[in-house]
Amino acid sequence: MKPTRFAARALFAACALSGSAMAVEFEFSGFASIVAGRTRGPCTESGLATDYSDSCTRFVADWAHAGVYTDKASLKPETKAGLQATARFAEGFSATAQVVGRIVEHPAADLEWAYVTWSPSPSWTFQAGRKRVPLFFYSDFQDVGYAYPWVRVPPDVYGWDVVNFNGASATYSANVGSWALRSSAFAGAETSRKNQYAKLLYDEGKDVKWPKIAGADLELSREWLTARVVYMRSGYEQIDRATGEPDVQESGDTHGTHTAYGGSINIDYGNWIGRSEYSVFDRSRYTYKATSWFVSAGYRIGAFTPMVTASSYTESTRFPELYDVSKWKTRSASLRYDFGKSQAVKIQVDRLRDLKAPIPGDATLVSVSYDVVF
């Protein structure tokens, strides 16, 4: 398309926006999860920050939002609700905002998504604004409990410091033989103030910066199989809020780049369900490298979906004198029950074994959830 024609279309969309309210179509949707849980087991040592180490046992259910269960039953770590509004204009233009409220956060509600979309054809979609970093298969919709079989996406894999970013993406969809293909490229940056992930590990407040985010993913699906690969790199810097100075990494550097890559294979074969993901986060040049994975299998029996899941998180480092590596593994059993038009209840038991320098410590978590989309 010629630039002038594009400009004309953009202008047309802007006119539609300001002039004729009739041309704009609004869509509202939402989701909510009420989740309760408590940990059990003999008391274990904690490697988390002081605020998260009072309890005899603890379980980090949501690293990115500092959602941590303790040996007292609580709704706080994971209960959330989201509302999304989309305004559709003419010519494939739309604007979307999503607000997510969590008990664990202050302030309690946050504009987590706000982006404009231009889809000039079924093959191409361009988006710009605030979005989720599509690092993992479930990243884009990890808040929508209704959309997956467990109470939560496995935290051993889905545990990173930055989840949203400001930037742009281009997505291409096509049919290749009998495969449906979807590929996207994305770029942007994020500064996460009072970073919640860092709050789990440090008593001092930290800001985390991921400048120059660039990455791409490719998803292929056919009949019972969906496979995805992703690669991303960005700058990395952690700043102490009290001093305003960047933290010095084990290599002596104050900032660097990191890469993340991984893949997932999902299977829906008749009543059988398989979910798996593998991910590498490489900050090895200045501190550590983390490898994580999960494998999950289940079988649908009417409205019930029992699943068993194994997952693990392992670090390695070139600076063993300066950095204590972590390693733990988790085994889970979960049961989902679907009812009504779009509601589900789930119960899940997770058993984590911390194998090196303790971070969360050994624990067993029992949790129940109610999920709905509307």
Partner: protein, 141 residues
């Protein structure tokens, strides 16, 4: 007619009626160049995996009311997913800005009316609801 024979005829009639009700067809606009589709190609459109017909032209699917017999048949036999699974799949696309689910129309008559007028439309209905204003590209029993 002997009572037993008439009973058999009535039973046969019931079986035929039941199988006729269970027959679901996928329809497109008569101007669409496609003559046939595979169940998998239809499933990809209804699960948001594809936004195009196999020939590359844009596809705008229409749905039927949740819980309706024809939709249950269509999901079971063509898409191969339950209503809850479909909802979960679309939840992903809705809340990540990758798509919005097909609009549900109240009846096969409404689906037929829309598919007959919209060149890119694709819908499903009972075989008995079809007439020459739409083109059948897939029949499942």
């Amino acid at each position: 007619m002997k009572p037993i024979r008439s009973l058999l005829v009535a039973l046969a009639g019931l079986v035929i009626a039941a199988s006729a009700a269970a027959e679901v067809v996928v329809v497109v606009n008569p101007r669409n160049t496609l003559t046939a589709m595979e169940a998998e190609q239809v499933a990809q459109i209804y699960t948001g995996a594809s936004r195009m017909f196999p020939n590359g032209s844009p596809a705008s699917p229409v749905d039927q009311a949740e819980g309706s017999a024809v939709r249950e048949e269509f999901l079971a036999k063509v898409v191969g997913r339950s209503s809850a699974q479909i909802k979960a799949v679309w939840s992903r696309l809705i809340f990540s800005g990758k798509g919005s689910p097909p609009k549900a129309l109240a009846s096969s008559a409404e689906v037929k009316k829309l598919v007959a007028t919209e060149p890119n439309a694709i819908g499903f209905m009972e075989r008995s609801a079809v007439d020459d204003t739409v083109k059948v590209v897939l029949t499942v029993k």
